[in-house]
Subunit: 260 residues, 2 copies
């Protein structure tokens, strides 16, 4: 009886305030939350009637989520706002339908029929764990190597010891060799490699704690390589390094090249 009652239009109208709210979600990566605030103020000047939209922004694990709720009459304002944000942030807006980068990477791999392998140092297994989090991961994950020690990078991934001596274990060169090694050893179509200094020890003047290098590479030799110094403590650096790795893998799978 309760089920029947809640199914009536009258009940639903009362609960929902007599209107059907729509909800949209955008996700951006590699942009400070403050920049989205600036964009929203600029949008207000340009578009005008943003009062019809209920907008909230949230910074979560390095990604900015923009959630917009509106009544049917706000459809046009939302459409204009969505276009405005897409225009201003073409390189950082990665999701217009609320999908996570994890879901996108899984979808891209499945669509291509590709298998991915990982090669990690400072993240110590976190990106492999993240790629295998969802059900059905065995469809697109072959495996990964956690090469914490330099000798493991050489033995498991075939990284030349000389390359490590010359450039250091945390370098774009070694990240690329780790990715190439993972592709070959696992017979994968794509690989993501991460090497960095999560701290608190191990930093130098030239390469302080937070220095991280990534390389996403596919079997045709296309690469997306990046080196950045991340802020935060050990746990934050490991977590953020994993998220950046997911995004670089996504760019590789979409043939987008490195971020600007």
């Amino acid at each position: 009886m309760w089920e029947q009652a809640t199914a009536t239009g009258a009940f639903r109208a009362a609960v929902q305030g007599a209107t059907d709210y729509q909800q949209a979600m955008l996700r951006l990566f590699g942009i400070p939350e403050s920049e989205i605030a600036v964009t929203l103020r600029a949008a207000e000047e340009r578009i005008g009637d943003l009062d019809e939209l209920e907008i909230t922004t949230c910074l979560r694990r390095g990604e900015v989520e923009v959630v917009v709720r509106y009544e049917p009459s706000g459809e046009r304002a939302w459409s204009e706002l969505g276009d405005f944000i897409a225009e201003r942030h073409p390189d950082t807006l990665f999701s217009s339908d609320g999908s996570t980068v994890d879901l996108q990477v899984a979808g891209l791999l499945a669509r291509k029929g590709w298998k991915v392998a990982t090669a990690e140092s400072c993240t110590g297994g976190l990106i492999a764990a993240r790629l295998t989090e969802g059900p059905g991961a065995s469809e697109y994950v072959v495996g990964g190597a956690v090469t914490y020690a330099d000798e493991a990078k050489v033995a498991l991934l075939g990284v030349p010891a000389e390359l490590i001596r010359e450039h250091g274990a945390v370098s774009p060169e070694v990240a690329e060799a780790m990715a190439a090694g993972a592709l070959e050893r696992f017979g994968a179509n794509a690989a993501i490699a991460i090497t960095g200094i999560a701290g608190p020890g191990g930093g130098t003047e030239e390469k302080p704690v937070g220095t991280v290098c990534w390389c996403a590479m596919d079997a045709d030799g296309a690469t997306v390589t990046r080196a950045v110094r991340l802020p935060g403590d050990r746990a934050e650096i490991r977590d953020r390094s994993t998220t950046v790795g997911m995004h670089l893998l996504r760019r590789l799978l979409r043939d987008e090249g490195p971020p600007p």
Copy 2:
């Protein structure tokens, strides 16, 4: 001035209710929380004056934490209770000083001067990530192989393809071969291997979702092998498998053999 004020005995006595509380913590693994409740009731009958102790129990990630707070006059009751619990639960009480299994494993490896390697399937990198969570992990972690696909178990860890065909990828035999492979490929002193079915797919009548096999092995050939069916969903099975792996590694490092 605030600092000076808070340093006075009068201030501290007022804040703390004029007494110094002591706190002790026990950790147990592989025991339901209800069994600890039974033990506490039995202790009350045997020891009597447990009123002096403020006891709380908490189930966290498969481990039971028992926290006991008491005033100096409760010292003797706590001592008797601690002994009583240790006597009743010799195989599941693993920490009498509140130390986590992670901290104990790190300490045991450091004391022995040993390096550990991991070989994981269903946990997909989680135990490698857990072992490398703390600062200084490079002192005792060489690395790990996430061998999600069977071909990766063969290529990366040298698991005989025939062994997989004969016993299945989720079997004590393959777990042992994975551990042996990790020891050899990483040149490690100890290895922990995990292979299982995290679900939701992949289960069979003989080996349903939640079936997990572990093997902890050291370079001298000592092994702690175990096969269990874990309850829960995919995330819970992966998480619990990781915790069990940490405990089996601890038992290996303490020469304790498999749990009863």
